[in-house]
Amino acid sequence: MSAGKDLKYTAEHEWLSIEGNVATIGITDYAAEKLGDVVFVDLPKVGAKVESGRVVGEIESTKSVGELFAPVSGTVVEANAEVIQAPELVNDDPFGTGWMIKVEVENASVFASEDLMDESAYKALVGE
């Protein structure tokens, strides 16, 4: 799986795949490559309330630490147990099995926020 046209992106190099009120969130291939070999992922617990823009997790590589920001406010409904067991999934398949969390928002209209970019805007951001 790779970046799709239907994904939303943030300036923090995260992607959102939206279905109804739930967004699946991960980091982009660009972020994964910048981080290097990911060795540890720390994610919020299911049921945790998260606030847009706040740090909710950590993605650690052999040489640096990336933070996972909540791109929207809501409730964590799922955290990817597989990526915690096998952090290399973040490098191998950032848009697929390397996803991080699923967040349910109260109102899907937040997904229309200006802070969330479409693919072309994100590609422009990373200079592709």
């Binding site: 590589s61 052999t62 290399e88």
Partner: protein, 963 residues
Amino acid sequence: MKAGDSLTGFAGRHIGTGPEAQSQMLQLLGYDSTDSLMAAAIPASIQLGEVTSKLPEAATETEALAELRELASKNRVLRSMIGLGYYDTFTPAVIKRNVLENPSWYTAYTPYQPEISQGRLEALINFQTMIAELTGLDTANASMLDESTAVVEGMLLARRASSVESNTFLVDQDSLPQTKALLEHRAAALGIQLHYTAYDQSPPPGDIDVFGAFIQYPGSSGRVWDPTEVIDAVKAQGGLVVVAADLLALTILKPPGEMGADIAVGTSQRFGVPMGFGGPHAGYLAVRTGLERQMPGRLVGVSKDADNQNAYRLTLQAREQHIRREKATSNICTAQVLLAVMAGMFAVYHGPVGIKVIAERVARSTRALAHAASEGGHTVQHGNYFDTLSLETVRSADDLVSRARDAGYLFFKVDDNHVQFSVDETTSNTDLQNLARVLGDESSESIEASQLDLETWLPGSLLRNSEFLTHQVFNSHHSESSMMRYLKSLADKDYALDRGMIPLGSCTMKLNAATEMEAVTWPEFGGVHPFAPAHDVAGYLELIAELQDWLAEVTGYDAVSLQPNAGSQGELAGLLAIRTYHLSRGDDHRDVCLIPSSAHGTNAASAVLAGMKVVVVACDELGNVDLADLREKIAEHASNLAALMITYPSTHGVYEQEIRAITDAVHEAGGQVYIDGANLNALLEFSRFGQFGGDVSHLNLHKTFCIPHGGGGPGVGPVAAKSHLAPFLPSHPLAQILPGSSDSEQGRPAHRNIVSAAPFGSPNILPITWAYIRMMGGDGLKRATASAVLAANYIAKQLEPHFPVLYTGKNGLVAHECILDLRPLTERTGVTVDDVAKRLIDYGFHAPTMSFPVPGTLMVEPTESEDLVELDRFIDAMVSIKSEAEKVADGTWSATDNPLVNAPHTTAILVEEQWSHPYSREVAVFPSKHSRSHKYWPPVRRIDQAWGDRNLFCACPPPESFA
């Protein structure tokens, strides 16, 4: 300089480039003298000009040693039984000669290049395994700075890991006095409340919430008791339990891990490391599974190399301050590697049986002395003890202490009626006879270690049943031949200064001269206790006072404290001094610390631990502090500005022109200026921090002043300050008064801003720096500075056509180091900074600093100690590697199979029957003439960093895994 000086004086030996070589180098750079080079490089506004140095004229090596002998003779080595965390020990001579006095071990750097550091990494894995097994916990780190700071780190770890909201930490009333002092100061800076309790009389109160608790085991007074219930109670509340445990006692007593403790800390000093008037020694810290990522300090783990063989490396580095900055688990950068290696080897040499024999003898001797004390009319305070007895004296404490002293023994006076003393490995039967007489036991003709069952005076439930040190490494090398060869085999795997230059930028790997090292192992310096009476350590105190004066002189400050035992601790001490200075003036709100984005991550981590808030100041595209952004940040935080921390010359290796404008702007806003002295070696005797706006600095004696790096410690990080901050520099509750000091016994604050367990940090290695300054004199130090700057500029100039030099200052010059930008090469050829670093190993070199302070670059610091031949060899190797990279770019070699990505090459790969690579075996291992005649063979191929982090294993791997 007079002709011939370079061969007769010490400076000429210390400085690698002689007059002829230097004029050749200067010619290349277009200068006629080092003076004109320095005048062109350093901003005119901070140049020192002609001053008369207060340093004594340079002494010869013979003269300096004679003076050190004289100082040593003023120390009186009595038999210390003071205890309190420091015990006399026999350093096995095989370890002293082959480790402590062996440059293969003491001149190595921190094992950042693991492929060429397998020997000391194995030694550290031995240490970690020893600590984990003795404490009964799962993972131990590669050592801490000392026991008391390890307790503080344990407290901070507990706070990070505990889910309890409380800010209160329970502390054992029966803790070491220096530990209490450190806990109090460090807790106060962070708003942590300490609640002291005598656990046996009043178990943890259920009505106060705590995030953790600290237990000293056995107690400072020697009392042995079972803390299991206390541990259970604290854990039931959600708190974490930190236990400081005596390693020797743990061979007999149930370890903290088996009693449910989360964290164990302590010191390994009594495993063969001399007391040295307080240090250096290796502290330790171990945790239960689940807390590894919260640990401070270095951690060695097992990974795999490219041939799938076991290989060691530093693991979980992302916890550390150089990556995580203000969010790091600690500000500590380094460990006490050389001392940890010694302690680990003590366990290898004695093995589990040998160590237990020592421990039992100590316990039985203590039992015999308890009996003698009772016979003498004293009251033994505790029924259960291991090595320490607390007595209520029959007459007075002074009377017993002076009787002991008359017989050649030092006891510790607790108060007017109480004395305590500790037995150690060196306590002989003759000592027992003498001590029985001191205690007034007239009943028996002779006394010897008790033959009674241990359960007579130790609770049966507390005796250890579990095995320890079961790995074969602790059960193989018990003969001296085997031990000597094991140490040799490990040293052979490593690259230290005895093989070639280590051009690590920001690390200053200069010569550690043999004469400087001489006094370290003299018994007059090694055999004294940190709390010995002042008149017994007069030589030490004189040396310390003199060294403090010299360091104040060369930095332009008024006062110096030698207490911090690492650069990070010097930073913390300096920032605490600033914080308490502001508090003393009622400026409680001044807590903002400005730090440039280019700063070493430790700066930010230290500021947080001093209770400050970090605000980052931007740098411009030339790598200098962005003055506009600085003024903006100052304006924004004007009323709360506490300090600016700035490194000079900068971490980019450049003399920033605007330094005066920067320090002035901070002072105008009421802030203090902290100048990080990590790069003082580029300034010494050409400029002084105190004269261009510095209020306080730390120095790294292990960089600028020749203390060897020891493979990753010891360090010494003195803090130096202007007079207005002098009252806030570190003190210690048990410090001796220095000659000429303004402190008096009565007027002295008990302990202000203490940062180390011992009053003067690590005095045993101070003779190294003393000897260096004594033998260089002001003129020699000045020549060293200029020679270091000359060497760096020479390398920059020679390599510029091949690798762009990222940052330069005035006249296109760098300071003492230069950053080679490899990013254009990487972009063009795919060859990375890692590939170049590992390929340098094949050429026989240690890589420069990788990706610090700028990712994708190499920072080269040649120091003044390398001669021109070695500098040219390095330059040739870099140029040759560049041309190899071009062959990858032009397709001669594939991007996935070339001598760079496959580097380093081992003997194992050389003897493979099928050689399938597109380059020859000769290109692989003998890429230069020098590498053919002086071959260093790396013991492993490139190590998989990610595998080790994902599969954490931090103890000796089972033998079968080496198949």
